[in-house]
């Protein structure tokens, strides 16, 4: 292991009266990849923010390459060779790849204030080549797909810090894999190793413990703002980590399988020869009452697009969606909801949460027309319903009046679920329901899913991981290149192995 790059001693942070982080020690040596895990609100992000200069620590000291270190802005941190890749993408759509990579660093390429985009593009090409990427850097980021953007994001940070501290940089990756497909993840890991091999250090945050175990050398575990464990990766396993994270040992029943319901034969929705040009073709399946139907497939296998069609967000090119005997053709999600289909969208912040509105409004928004009596809503009643959901779903908040964007990711997601349940829709489309959600909340969400089916609802699930998909579903449909390549029954006890599903996916 290389020389010691960075050391934090007794770092703590408090907002007003509440302490969110106390007494964290951390060592980072060059060339190592460090895993950082913990539930949402465990303090990971706060620590990252402190190291990357977004926030200032309240206590403790940090030293970088032997010298005391502190950064007031991201920029300052970058100059010290510390860069962070943020969870929500921080790229600018209407600028080119090159302009994004060198945003706010144009000096190098400008003469008398005027920038030469040509020179910039040349360097940009080099920068992304480091991650084995090759594309026209004068392209607008707007026109690129999510995964590529993520790569560019990393390339950008990498470039920033390596320029200042060649081979001594520290890169913080916050949930970089959530938007990536499996092979892209592998590519990313490979690149991470290369970067580390050059002597840089990487801190890797993820909720997917398997990934953490796969890529990291050392793991720090956080819980409730404190550091509960620091261990080398070899010798650690999911159960240990899980225990350290949530304080109780993981039950084998992670997916609450004992509550898994056996679907009835009653068909609530049957999809016939559904096609969207260029996304998927000739998709047909029946959804039964009380069923959890998992859609498995890599990014671009068409599963996303199927969801979009079912929730009325996208128009099918041909085919039928038959609900109680009638062919339905949704012009928009509103009509879909009216027919009893509602989705829990993938991008929580932009598509799920109505940020500045209260929890109450967020929970009830999909059912307000149902609650209206003689054109009016009953304030007391709506509040009561909201409070009930907050209890039922175990949402941590001060009151139903709190704004949703003040909640942690997991809690916000529970609110979105509460909305879906409150809507009274019988068919729910869950698109990555546990993306970016901490293990604790995950389990609660899973049991919510079970409750739904128990109540006779039907669910179409796009799992965040294949494992999740198998664990939750009572049946899985596997897609490849927009076509159904297989279908697996997943009764409790004889769930198909990931292997035979992946075979069908690739």
């Amino acid at each position: 292991m290389g020389e010691l790059l960075f050391e934090a001693k007794g770092i703590g942070k408090d907002y007003g009266a509440t302490t969110v982080l106390h007494d964290i020690d951390m060592k980072i040596s060059s060339g190592e990849i460090i895993g950082l895990i913990g539930e949402n609100g465990a303090g990971k992000s706060t620590l990252m923010k402190i190291i990357s200069g977004v926030e200032k620590q309240s206590f403790g000291t940090m030293t970088l390459r032997g010298k005391p270190y502190s950064a007031n802005t991201i920029l300052e941190a970058n100059h010290h060779g510390i860069g962070m890749v943020f969870q929500e993408q921080s790229l600018v759509g209407n600028l080119t790849v090159a302009q994004n990579i060198y945003l706010n660093r144009e000096k190098k390429y400008s003469t008398a204030g005027f920038v030469s985009w040509r020179k910039m593009n040349v360097d940009a090409k080099k920068a992304i080549a480091r991650l084995g990427l090759d594309l026209d850097t004068s392209k607008k980021v707007r026109d690129l797909d999510f995964a590529t953007r993520q790569m560019i994001e990393i390339a950008k940070v990498l470039d920033v810090v390596e320029e200042t501290a060649s081979g001594k940089a520290i890169i913080l990756l916050d949930e970089p894999t959530t938007v990536l497909s499996n092979e892209e993840i592998d590519k990313l890991f490979e690149n991470m190793r290369n970067v580390a091999a050059r002597g840089n250090a990487i801190i890797f945050i993820s909720h997917r413990l398997d990934e953490v175990l796969k890529i990291t050398d050392r793991i720090y575990v956080f819980k409730d703002g404190a550091e509960t464990a620091e261990m080398p990766t070899k010798g650690a396993d999911i159960n240990i980590l899980y225990e350290k994270m949530v304080g109780r040992s993981t039950t084998g029943e992670f997916y609450v399988e004992h509550k898994q319901t056996v679907p009835t034969d009653e068909v609530v929705m049957s999809v016939k020869d559904l096609s969207v040009f260029g996304s998927f073709n000739h998709i047909s399946f029946d959804l039964h009452k009380g069923e959890v139907l998992g859609l498995c497939g890599v990014e671009g296998s068409g599963k996303e697009s199927i969801c979009a069609v079912l929730v009325g967000d996208e128009a099918p090119t041909s085919g039928e969606i038959v609900i109680n005997g009638k062919n339905q053709n949704f012009a928009n999600p509103y009509q879909a909801r009216k027919k009893g289909i509602l989705g829990v969208p993938k991008e929580r912040r932009s598509e799920g949460m109505i940020g500045i509105l209260s929890l109450e409004d967020n929970i009830l928004i999909s059912h307000l027309d149902g609650l209206t009596k003689r054109g009016l809503l009953n304030g007391k009643k709506t509040r009561a319903i909201a409070d009930e959901w907050i209890k039922k779903a175990g949402i941590k908040c001060t009151s139903a009046e709190e704004r949703i964007n003040q909640l942690s990711g997991g809690n916000a997601q529970k609110v979105i679920f509460a909305r879906a349940l409150e809507s009274g829709c019988r068919i729910l489309i869950l698109n990555h329901p546990t993306r970016g959600v901490d293990v604790g909340s995950k389990e609660e969400i899973y049991s919510l899913v079970r409750d739904m089916t128990a109540a006779g609802n039907s669910i179409i699930l796009l799992g965040d991981t294949l494992d999740e998909c198998i664990g939750l579903s009572s049946r899985c449909i596997v897609l490849r290149d927009g076509l159904i390549t297989g279908s697996f029954e997943c009764q409790v006890g004889n769930k198909p192995s990931q292997k035979n599903i992946v075979e069908k996916m690739m």
Partner: protein, 319 residues
């Protein structure tokens, strides 16, 4: 800071918009003797009435994050229609005007929502249209409600107790708007659209309907305000609206409603209206040099908005 303190501050910022009104009142009662006299207070109420209705309706478009630059024109249009035809049909005209308001507002709404054009442009263009109707119906500046018809419009000058009847009407409208905003699902979805249109859409809310309803409300209120102005001025005035649009928007913002959409309240708006009206008449009574009036009002506006702006939206990007 401690919870208690936080709570206090929350409370303070929540009712700051009231404080600024009181502030204005106090200042003027010092500098302009007689400002708090019954006569002048009644004036202020009488003046504020139509603007209250206009701004109240306009608020809903602001909630959606849009803007209605055509409100003034609609006022002109309905003011003219009322002024001209009241002689023929009496007070029933008001109902017809409300109908006209529905049509005008909905047209704006449909164009904006269905064609997905920025309301800024749409209303900017459609206003030419209402102005045009107003002008061709009333080419020579203004048409008076004939003296012998004055009995019809008498009720507007009546005072119930000490309160002018029109002011009570305005209060009633504001109350209705408040109910609409707070206790109907259109009201709620209007706010949701302003806060995050995409999420609202995916939550299965009919956002087009929400947006259109906002415009309809604004249309109706503008129409009502227009009719009221006709009653107030006892005449049809095709240019009455020109200066009103921005005044109305200003008073909405002055109440502290966020121009970004998603947050606000008609109560805030009505306080904003009262503040602006109080300021203008206060300046008159101070005998402020007219050359300075615009300047003073501008400064006061900035100051008041500073105080009032809805602190809950602090973490939002201000545009």
């Amino acid at each position: 800071m401690t919870k208690k303190k936080a709570f206090k501050q929350e409370y303070l910022t929540k009712y700051m918009y009231l404080i600024s009104l009181v502030l204005v009142m106090v200042v003027f009662s010092i500098f302009a003797p007689g400002f708090l006299s019954l006569y002048s207070l009644q004036n202020i109420m009488f003046e504020a009435a139509p603007l209250l209705i206009l701004a109240g309706g306009l608020s809903f478009i602001i909630y959606t994050g849009g803007i209605d630059l055509g409100a003034g024109a609609m006022v002109s249009c309905t003011c003219v229609l009322t002024g001209i035809y009241i002689a023929k049909m009496g007070n029933i005209i008001v109902l017809l005007m409300i109908l006209a308001g529905v049509v005008m507002g909905t047209l704006n709404g449909v164009i904006t929502a269905k064609l997905k054009l920025p309301s800024f442009i749409v209303t900017l263009c459609t206003q030419n249209f209402w102005n045009y109707v107003a002008l061709i119906l009333c080419p020579n500046g203004s048409i008076i409600i004939p003296m012998n018809m004055r009995s019809i419009v008498k009720w507007t000058t009546v005072k119930i107790g000490v309160i002018p009847s029109t002011f009570l009407l305005a209060i009633l409208v504001i109350f209705l708007l408040y109910v609409f905003q707070q206790y109907t699902f259109y009201g709620k979805s209007i706010f949701a659209v302003g806060a995050n249109a995409n999420a609202t859409r995916l939550a299965g809310v009919n956002i087009d309907a929400a947006q259109i309803s906002a415009f309809t409300i604004s249309g109706v209120c503008s129409a009502l305000a227009g009719a009221l102005y006709a009653y107030k001025l006892k005449s049809a005035v095709p240019t009455i609206g020109t200066s009103l649009t921005l005044t109305a928007i200003a008073s909405v913002a002055l109440g502290g409603t966020s121009m970004a959409g998603g947050r606000g309240s008609v109560l805030r708006t009505s306080i904003g209206v009262l503040t602006i009206t109080a300021v203008t008449s206060g300046l008159d009574m101070m005998g402020a040099d007219p050359l300075w009036k615009n300047i003073i009002i501008g400064v006061i506006l900035i100051g008041a908005v500073c105080l009032n702006s809805d602190s809950q939206g602090r973490d939002l990007i201000i545009k």
